[in-house]
Symmetry: none
Subunit: 126 residues, 2 copies
């Protein structure tokens, strides 16, 4: 008798939260997790009666968004409120740590963009 042969599959394997190097796997992961993120955002909005917006730009620069009641509405309100309240007003000490981290990320990002801009300018000179 032929056993109903299970599909090959090792189940979920544990992975670290760092950049996925393989391009293909990274894209698949982006698509799946983007969907998961939007789903979580929707659940938060429905269950807690909160306004939620989530926006992401893929590696390729393509934009995706989710919002309740709409991404634009929430985003507008966010900018209008002038509120640059990061991660909720936690304890000062905690917030200080977060600001330091943000600062570090910003510096890294600045360097990246500057480097890219340099290459672009150089390319245009030719």
């Amino acid at each position: 008798a032929a056993a109903p042969k299970r599909r090959a599959g090792n189940g979920r394997t544990k992975i670290a939260i760092r950049r996925i190097e393989k391009k293909g796997a990274r894209q698949v992961c982006f698509a799946k997790r983007r969907q998961g993120l939007f789903n979580k955002a929707n659940e938060l909005a429905v269950m807690c009666g909160a306004q939620v917006a989530a926006v992401t730009f893929s590696d390729g620069g393509k934009a995706f968004s989710f919002g309740h009641p709409s991404a634009e509405a929430v985003v507008d309100r966010f900018l209008a409120g002038g509120g640059a309240l990061v991660q909720g007003a936690a304890a000062d000490d905690d917030e200080l740590k977060k600001l330091h981290q943000l600062h570090g990320e910003l510096r890294t990002r600045l360097k990246e963009v500057k480097a890219r801009k340099g290459r672009v300018v150089e390319a245009m000179a030719k």
Copy 2:
């Protein structure tokens, strides 16, 4: 003899994705899931090298946000780009300017928080 009494708790129970009526439970749920959402957003950003922003307003109208590299940067790009996004020097130059401004704001903010923390520490010493 007193048994080492486990903490009461039935573990996670299945619930429907609809508005939570009990106010207290709704607030706790909001706090937990907001944190979970931001965590997912961060993982997506790190693992897939994508820009991500998440913004929510609680029932009480309080704003919370997360962003990589920053909520404002991603949100601005979203509103500016509308949908399709262009690459090139112009886009990079614009982003560079925004990052510089953000950097300045962050430094100001850091000083403020540090000062406040100093006052708090001093107050606690008394």
